[in-house]
């Protein structure tokens, strides 16, 4: 096949393999590889099939990238090569439009994309601080994600940031001085920590909205509901996830005094938010999202549990909302001990909403007495264990609602005088007091622990961690004053409490570096130590900040009233929150949050498409032992990414190190989260991975989470049982049966051996040809006769006369 390349200026030239080979050698340069010729050969083989008859230079570049990308599951070296190729494409495109970092900044101001504030800084100094070598730290999935959504685009929708410019722009939106900017830039570009996605999107831009989450409270009035709908719309528009507590909204049948008519309850109102959230796209880069939270004693709880069901009355279903249960201890205790639970109407029993701990228990008991005495308008008694079973069934089936523990959140509230904590956020790591007039806001960043392991892999590099945590605390505190608050209630809460959320990712990756299996007591001990250390450093820094910049307003106000809190002044009411880090762990190329590796090979579905993720540490280990090969890759794939049952690896590697998410008992997953939670002042967002065979034990697992004093659980992943036919791997569906191969006489179908003998000759070549001409016409037959290996006919008869097929 003759192939033509169409160049950018429209001229054409023949496709030359050598030119591409040279280009591939160029990106390999400097890489330590055993056999660069073999690499190039494999890539060219992939590419050959891809290149069509006519191809533009741009498309050709993309196809080279695709060809390399396809090889990623074979070896991490292809990941590196794909990253380099993509980087080359990004840089090429930008260099065509922009001369330098300075030029980018100027265009950014011209097009009113960058914030005027950035003009205060020393561009020359900052430009000199850029280190493009650090591009090499990025992996392919990370760079693809950045390129797709994080790098800033100009008004024509073209990417205008190189990765290092991007890190610098983010730093410029956070630091208060040139020195601080450079410090933050260095940390970010070395991937030692990252800010949350909204900060990376908006820092330093005209949309200075840095926060990830908002948590609001709806009061029991139409006014409040519509107010919060409006607030939610604006919060969602600017890339924040919104958590909303609906426990105060009166239940179905509750009396509305002004109309003297019964209410239709909370569920139809929740539907408003479903529609709202669906209508707001966050610039196409992130979907707006919301979680509604309800306390499980609410009379409408049955309807609440059904919100994410896919069948039934569409008016009572909210496919776009997430839901969570704000569960009091007293109800957990009743579930645990098999005592009945009671449901009430918050319109009639409003004190239950705010009451926590023993206070809740007392009030709940009082209401139960009244109910039994017939003194309440509305109530229901339920078998607590039936309720819990039903709830967990819904959780397993729809993934919702998540279970969050009201009292554990409130027990650690540093500002009870400000308000109770009414609910958590979408990702369940937030724990900030809030009220209808004060919407909690959280601004997050996460340490990449995998970049804080000593070079000799003997321990965590604690000193470096101190430096990172201090930089983060100061940076996050800066943000609060530069942040754009989409609502007054949100500004109010931040100014009163100045909450920060410092979290962690790469925990599992660091564990493997340290030779500690995730599924071990040692891992739990390290988790405990890390949590305490993070707390110590963050608090110390916040206290220093209080001296420099003053303590948070609510603290000072309480002090002025002579009712000060009994802890030393600090700048921020809360500082720590372990978020799921779904997106930023992809950018840094590490394991998310405090989770284990999901699997040693798996695919990940995100807004930026579907990517294969392989456990690089495992491959390096296997390679060192001389056990890594295409064959081994296939074996691991066939085991669904597990190495536990591959006998060949017994004694070769420490299999314990490479257990995948479903292979680690949820109890251990909970133990690790609980160890962190001991010191984290907000919450640890912990997804649970439950193997299908443990589905029966879900009650026990969730009771355990409560006993271990987790504040929050998050997504419940249950391994899907029924999978599709494997695409790239042969499965023997026939077993030993012979099927059409059982005839013996039929030579066209003799059995399942893989020998290559051709079907029986149906006559001489000439007879065949004549027969074929009769059937297909001359043109087709002539074409078949001239076919080369690239264009063999598929018809069995034609194949028999095709010279290449012979």
């Amino acid at each position: 096949m003759k192939r033509t390349v169409i160049k950018r200026d429209g001229t054409e030239e023949p496709f030359r393999t050598q030119k591409i080979i040279n280009a591939i050698f160029e990106i390999i340069e400097g890489l330590e590889v055993e056999d660069d010729y073999e690499l190039v050969f494999l890539i060219m083989k992939e590419l050959d099939l891809k290149v069509p008859e006519r191809v533009s230079t741009e498309e050709l570049d993309r196809l080279v990238l695709k060809a390399i990308e396809q090889l990623i599951p074979r070896h991490p070296v292809y990941d590196t090569l794909a990253t380099r190729q993509l980087l080359k494409l990004i840089n090429k495109r930008i260099d065509r439009r922009l001369d330098s970092f300075r030029d980018y900044l100027e265009k950014g101001f011209e097009q009113e994309l960058l914030h005027e504030r950035l003009k205060d800084f020393d561009f020359e100094l900052l430009e000199q601080s850029l280190d493009f070598e650090r591009d090499r730290l990025l992996g392919y999935f990370g760079l693809t994600t950045m390129n797709d959504r994080y790098l800033m685009k100009n008004r024509d929708g073209e990417v205008m940031e190189k990765p290092q410019w991007f890190f610098m722009r983010v730093a410029m939106g956070i630091g208060n001085s040139n020195e601080e900017i450079i410090k933050i830039y260095n940390k970010l570009s070395k991937l030692e920590y990252l800010h949350s996605t909204p900060t990376l999107f908006n820092s330093g831009t005209v949309t200075s909205q840095y926060s990830s989450c908002y948590v609001s409270v709806i009061d029991d009035s139409l006014d409040s509901i519509m107010d919060k709908a409006r607030e939610t719309a604006f919060l969602a528009k600017y890339a924040g996830g919104v958590g909303t507590d609906v426990s105060r909204i009166r239940a179905t049948g509750s009396n509305i005094a002004s109309l003297n008519a019964p209410s239709s309850g909370a569920i139809p109102f929740i539907k408003i938010f479903d529609t709202l959230v669906n209508s707001i796209q966050q610039g196409g880069r992130r979907r707006s999202s919301q979680v509604v939270s309800m306390q499980p004693w609410h009379l409408d709880i049955d309807g609440f549990l059904d919100l994410r069901e896919t069948t039934g009355n569409a008016y009572f279903r909210t496919p776009s909302l997430n839901t969570s249960l704000w569960m009091p201890d007293e109800m957990m205790r009743r579930i645990d001990q098999g005592e009945p639970i009671y449901l009430f109407d918050p319109g009639e029993c409003p004190e239950l909403v705010d009451a926590t701990g023993d206070d809740f228990k007392k009030n709940y008991a009082r209401r139960i007495e009244q109910a039994e005495a017939g003194e309440l308008e509305q109530f229901r008694q339920l078998d607590s264990q039936d309720f819990f079973k039903k709830y967990l069934f819904k959780l397993a089936k729809t993934g919702h609602p998540w279970l969050i523990f009201k009292d554990e959140h409130n027990r650690h509230n540093p500002c009870p005088e400000y308000s109770v904590i009414n609910s958590s956020n979408l990702c369940t790591e937030i724990s900030i007091p809030n009220r209808p007039d004060s919407t909690a806001v959280c601004t997050l960043a996460s340490v990449n622990l995998s970049k804080h392991v000593k070079e000799d892999k003997s321990d965590i590099d604690w000193e470096k961690l101190v430096d990172t945590l201090e930089t983060m605390t100061r940076g996050l505190d800066n943000i609060l004053d530069k942040n754009f608050y989409p609502s007054e209630a949100a500004r109010q809460n931040t100014m009163d409490l100045r909450p920060l959320g410092i979290g962690l990712m790469g925990f599992a990756e660091a564990l493997i570096d340290l030779d500690i299996p995730y599924d071990s007591e040692e891992a739990v001990i390290l988790a405990r130590k890390l949590g305490a250390f993070m707390r110590k450093i963050a608090y110390r820094t916040s206290q220093e900040l209080a001296e420099e910049r003053g303590a948070f307003r609510h603290y000072r106000e309480m002090e002025e009233q002579g009712e000060g809190y009994d802890y030393p002044p600090r700048r921020n009411a809360v500082l720590l929150a372990i978020a799921p880090t779904a997106s930023i762990s992809i950018i840094t190329g590490t394991t998310s949050s405090i989770d284990s590796y999901f699997s040693n090979i798996y695919s990940r579905d995100t807004l930026s498409g579907k990517h294969i993720v392989i456990n690089r540490q495992l491959i390096e280990d296997l390679e060192e032992k001389g056990k890594w090969s295409d064959g081994m890759a296939d074996v691991i794939k066939a085991h669904n990414g597990s190495v536990q049952y591959i006998d060949e690896l017994d004694g070769v590697i420490d299999k314990e190190l490479y257990k995948t998410a479903y292979e680690i008992h949820p109890r251990r997953q909970i133990d690790i989260a609980a160890a962190f939670q001991e010191s984290i002042d907000q919450a640890v967002s912990k997804s649970l991975y439950i193997d299908e065979h443990l589905r029966e034990d879900m009650e026990e697992i969730y009771l355990y989470a409560w006993e271990k004093k987790l504040k929050s659980t998050y997504y419940c992943f249950i391994d899907k049982v029924v999978k599709g036919e494997k695409y790239t791997e042969k499965v023997n569906k026939r077993g030993s049966r012979k099927g059409f191969g059982g005839g013996g006489a039929a030579s066209a179908a003799n059995g399942d051996s893989s020998d290559t003998s051709e079907p029986a000759e149906a006559g001489t070549q000439a007879e065949l040809e004549a027969k074929a001409r009769q059937k297909f016409g001359d043109e087709v037959v002539d074409e078949a006769l001239e076919a080369d290996a690239d264009s063999c006919p598929t018809d069995p008869m034609l194949r028999r006369i095709c010279p290449a097929c012979e």
Partner: protein
Amino acid sequence: MINKLIGRTSVRDNIKLSEDPSYPIFKELYEKQKKAIWFPEELNIQQDALDYHSLSEDEKDLFDTAVGYFCSSELLVQNVLVNSFFPLLTDPHAKMSFSTQLFMENIHSDFFEIVLQSFGMDREKMYDVAFDDPILRKKQSLIVDEIDKISYGQIDPETLEGQKQVLRAILLNNIILEGIFFYSSFAHFFALKDMAKMKNVVSGVELVLIDESLHLQNGIEAILIMLDENPEIVKDTEYVQDIRDVILEGTALEIEYVKHKFGDRTILGISYGELERYLKYITDRRLQELGFQQEFHITENPLRFLQKEDVKKLINFFEVSSTEYTNY
């Protein structure tokens, strides 16, 4: 001729389930299909509306045609099943397994109908595409014309000839249509997701794929059982050759179709060359599954991005509809 999977039945027959079924595999396949049940409402399809409008002309054409093709084909599968061999199934578990397949085809039609509505596609054109497009029509005709010839009423299942005809109907429906034609279009959808486009629709197609691979297995099992029960069939060399030929004819038609669609250019980063090889690879698998020899001897799936369908999936559920929950 008693105790065969395919035979003459009446409404009074086969209404008792047995704890010790004659064909345990159909009980198992029924269970698997039950666990795979999903509903289109689980997917947030209109989230893809922005994406849809940003597809290039070629991409849109590919997407539209694939959707149109499935819109009409899903119900076609039902027709074929009901009109040709369903009434002849003598085993209650087999009936349950195939009627679950029927139900799942409803879900798929429903799903593609919602897709069609969500993006304001021309419904008349969509439903007609499989018969208006000259090359697609050839594909549909291969199935429809043959089934017309052997539609129920004209078959005497008690004869060897009847058994052969039914087997051919199952082959056309569950192997060629669902196992080759559908698999070709699946690859087009997955290529979209690979380029980060139409992610929620494709999440639905991932579920369709799971279902179809179970239907394919229904077909393979039925055929293998029939061959076991009628050892005379494989002795009829001409018939066996015909079966092989019709599979390859299906493949040839599909290859003609992708050539016509992709021609001399790439769409979504894939080329005709890759798709041709892919179809040959899939065909080889189908042949082997039925006990035939391979035809093309292609050992590796050239569309390597499909590996992503083979491994465990982790979904950023707040970004893309999750397909990882079971309704049962």
